[in-house]
């Protein structure tokens, strides 16, 4: 793994991770910390207090100009034209056959001059593919026409992105940013000033989004101030119990929250209906690559369905393990781990629709031995919003 063709990319926080015991692994072409001390510990603290993660490997593409919204609407399965300032939406990018090219967040913000711009957050492993897809679909003539210009930039290397997740994340971040985080709604964001000398008068973008099933925020700042802002957060977070968390805990957190991960639950061979993400596809009155194919898929019987799986034993069912009902194979596991919150294995996978009902008993082939499992409702973990901190 260490000997790939091109050296792994480093985020602006690479040096910090190495200096603070981060166990670096290659992930989607980036050198990332899988953990600092323990996945279970980092996971548990994110659920009970607050954790911080470097997610600068995520691709960030910035679009501006009067034609930006129209162009994004032509690419994404989700509506874009009606987005208000500070709004964030989860969307898919599909290919012409309706297969999933990527799952993304699109946010609309205003710069210091009041002009709108959009940020598309794409998966690290898909960044090159999506950049190519955008290039191939950009209407060049129109993008040059006065009043319809589309200017876009891959800003991934220019901005760091930090995920601050957990019930105490408002408490941690509020003193640092100009926006009122207490009243910021889920899937909203804002361009903000960062109230700390380490930010050197630079701003950032903050949104109430995340990939953990917990309350939390994602903060983008310039690469050159990333380490200073990260250290300021570590300092401010000490009394709150803040710990740095790696991509290992990020995976266990998202899996408990039942969130799909590209190249596990999502791929070009899976369509949004199978993945249970059809609500992100606006098929009528909108057009995008794959729209026509999806109108056909909508009417056809499903071949497979994404489900939650609860192994009854203690062995973890991992990606690629076959799922059986008696002697016939009815599906495959796409993600599996140990749930630190439930103290037992959990998994997601695809099964044929007749085996997708909650309560269905199946067997998973765990390295040559069949283990009993049950189809269960997703997510595995639901945070108690009423019980969350003020």
């Amino acid at each position: 793994m260490a000997s790939s063709d091109s050296p792994a990319l480093r985020t602006p926080l690479f040096g910090w991770h190495v200096a603070h015991g981060g166990r670096m692994v290659e992930f989607a072409g980036w050198s990332m910390p899988v953990m600092y001390t323990s996945i279970i510990e980092e996971h548990t603290i994110t659920r009970s207090a607050v954790g911080i993660a470097d997610i600068s490997h995520m691709g960030r593409l910035r679009f501006e100009g009067p034609g930006a919204a129209v162009f994004l609407a032509e690419l994404l399965t989700r509506r874009v034209a009606d987005m208000a300032e500070g709004q964030v939406r989860y969307s898919l990018v599909t290919n012409d056959r309706g297969g999933i090219l990527d799952d993304v967040l699109v946010g609309r913000y205003h710069n210091d001059y009041g002009q709108p711009y959009y940020v598309l957050v794409v998966n690290a492993a898909n960044r090159a593919k999506i950049v190519k897809w955008i290039d191939a679909h950009l209407p060049r003539e129109r993008a040059e026409r006065p009043g319809e210009e589309i200017i876009w930039t891959d800003v991934t290397r220019l901005w760091a992105m930090l995920a601050v997740q957990g019930p105490r994340s408002v408490e941690l971040l509020q003193p640092l940013v100009t926006a009122d985080l207490r009243t910021m709604r889920y899937y909203r964001g804002a361009q903000v000033r960062i109230l700390h000398p380490a930010a050197r008068r630079q701003g950032g973008i903050i949104s109430r989004t995340g990939y953990t099933g917990e309350d939390g925020f994602e903060l983008s700042v310039g690469a050159t101030i990333a380490e200073g802002v990260w250290e300021a957060l570590m300092e401010l977070g000490r009394p709150l119990g803040l710990v740095p968390t790696g991509i290992g805990a990020r995976d266990t957190l998202r899996l408990e929250a039942g969130m799909p991960l590209y190249s596990h639950e999502l791929s070009e061979r899976i369509n949004p209906f199978e993945a249970g993400l059809e609500s992100t596809c606006y098929l009528r009155g909108y057009d995008f690559p794959g729209r026509d194919a999806l109108l056909g898929i909508e009417k056809a019987p499903r071949q497979k369905v994404r489900v939650g799986l609860q192994p009854l034993g203690r062995r973890i069912a991992r990606q690629g393990y076959p799922i059986f009902a008696g002697s016939q194979q009815v599906g495959e596991v796409t993600s599996g781990t140990f749930s630190p919150t439930l103290s037992r294995p959990i998994a997601m996978g695809y099964v044929r629709p007749q085996f997708a009902a909650v309560g269905t008993e199946v067997q998973i082939d765990v390295r040559g031995r069949r283990e009993e499992a049950r189809v269960v409702k997703l997510p595995f973990y639901h945070r108690n919003k009423k019980g969350s901190q003020k």
């Binding site: 670096m24 953990m35 996945i39 290992g248 062995r315 973890i316 991992r318 781990t337 140990f338």
Partner: protein, 136 residues
């Protein structure tokens, strides 16, 4: 015995060889602190039944962490004569005391010649250092 006095397999199992009252050579087998540290977050161990015959390099069980699952390999040819069954429910004890409380099985050695294949502490430490470097 201290870690310095043990033998090691390339697959990170440690081996302590003793002679029982009947004169047979018994290998006590566990997993090195280096390997346990690399795994972290242990969630499951599976150990074999007493009486099973194993050969050197054969898997006799598995150890699973949140990240990954690994086989446990027998460092010697022989028969399993004792299993540390309670350890499967005391994964913390395994991490805290891998060379005493954390043993997995005792194997009655069938062929002592195989012991020559095992590494001494210095050679094993060198292998671990190389693995650490290759990781970066």
């Amino acid at each position: 015995m201290t870690p310095e006095q043990l033998l090691y397999a390339k697959t990170h199992e440690w081996v302590r060889v003793e002679t029982d009252p009947g004169g047979a050579k018994i290998a006590t087998v566990g997993l090195s602190a280096f390997a346990l540290e690399a795994l972290t977050d242990l969630v499951f161990i599976e150990l074999p039944e007493v009486g099973r015959e194993v050969s050197a390099g054969e898997s006799f069980g598995e150890i699973e962490s949140v990240k990954a699952v690994s086989d446990l390999y027998s460092p010697v040819d022989g028969q399993i004569v004792e299993v540390n069954a309670p350890i499967v429910d005391k994964l913390d004890a395994l991490s805290d005391d891998p060379y005493e409380a954390g043993w997995f099985v005792r194997i009655k050695i069938a062929d002592e010649a195989g012991l020559a294949e095992l590494l001494d502490f210095a050679a094993y430490q060198k292998q671990c250092e190389e693995e650490m470097t290759n990781d970066e």
